[in-house]
């Protein structure tokens, strides 16, 4: 058990180092404020939530495996340090990372808000060391 924990800690540290060395940068995760319980007007689109931006670092943003199809927005990948995600999950009181990503409105990268299409994780010894987000660029930026 102790070995597994050691392995997972080593993997997380190694991932952080690799992300920093591989062009590690900071992006902002845009999160909506919690909804108002029982507020029907919010469910009707009459009231909009406020947003807060939370920094994620280190991450690697890459288009190396970007997929493009005619008439569809480009997709890119964001590799995110599990250490950074765990800190946000813990500090903001989310139950899990997938809840955090499902709740997020998008990721702000160079002033462009990209939608999170999917989130997967890589783990060792039961602990996640990196998250891979597939992001979709806004249709307005389609060329």
């Amino acid at each position: 058990m102790g070995e597994l924990r050691d392995v997972s800690i080593v993997a997380q540290r190694a991932a952080d180092v690799l992300l920093r060395c591989g062009g590690g940068r900071k992006v902002l995760l845009r999160l909506p404020a919690p909804a108002s319980p029982g507020d029907t007007t919010e469910q009707l689109g009459l009231a909009v939530p406020s947003f807060q931006d939370v920094a994620l670092e280190p991450v690697v943003f890459r288009k190396a495996r970007a997929t493009m199809a005619d008439g569809k927005a480009a997709k890119s990948e964001l590799m995110v340090s599990a250490t950074a995600v765990n800190a946000v999950v813990g500090s903001l009181g989310y139950s899990a990372a997938n809840v955090l990503f499902a709740t997020a409105f998008g990721v702000l990268i160079d002033e462009v808000l990209m939608e999170i299409e999917s989130a997967t994780e890589s783990e060792v010894g039961g602990a996640t060391y990196v998250y891979r987000l597939v992001l979709r660029a806004p249709l307005a930026l389609m060329v």
Partner: protein
């Protein structure tokens, strides 16, 4: 038209919640009945399962009468992966349960309600919605074929919603 949409959503939400109070979703940290209008929520690639997602699609206006008759098509999308504890083998039963809930909510008598204006209630004003002069009424639900998408079972049902466009109403 927007008032009719809002009224139909609130009515359907309340009826679905009465039919099965256990069907809930957590949206932005708040637990609420398992029904939402997609255009009123944040754009997201995530497809909620075990919940009813409303989309307003078709729209026709018949201006021949004293008040224009507006006909709108409401698509209700829902899907289930089954219960993970059952290995998803109950997904057919769960979809069938959602079919039954929808029939019970939409076809319950009366299939009409007073049109309400919720604009004044926005922004935490505390004001109640305002009842308007005409009704919103709707037909029976029409079910599309169930579609298997991997382990997920999905269905789209449609309901035609009718209302009269009152003078000065946007």
């Amino acid at each position: 038209m927007q008032n009719a949409r809002d009224t139909f959503y609130v009515t359907l939400r309340d009826r679905l919640a009465a039919v099965n109070p256990a069907r809930t979703i957590v949206l932005r940290g708040v637990t609420r009945p398992g029904v939402l209008v997609e255009e009123n929520e944040l754009a997201s690639a995530t497809v909620p399962v075990n919940a009813f997602c409303l989309q307003w699609t078709g729209l026709t206006v018949d201006a021949q009468g004293a008040l224009p008759l507006v006909t709108m098509v409401c698509e209700i999308r829902y899907a289930t992966d089954g219960d993970s504890g059952n290995g998803g083998m109950d997904r057919g039963r769960l979809l069938s349960g959602m079919d039954a809930e929808l029939v019970a909510a939409v076809s319950a008598s009366p299939q009409n309600t007073t049109k309400m204006n919720y604009v004044g209630a926005a922004g935490g004003s505390g004001l109640p919605p305002v009842a308007m002069a005409t009704n919103v009424f709707w037909g029976d639900v029409v079910f599309g074929a169930a579609v298997a998408n991997g382990e997920r079972l999905e269905r789209v049902a449609t309901v035609e919603v009718f209302s009269y466009q009152e003078a000065g109403e946007l």
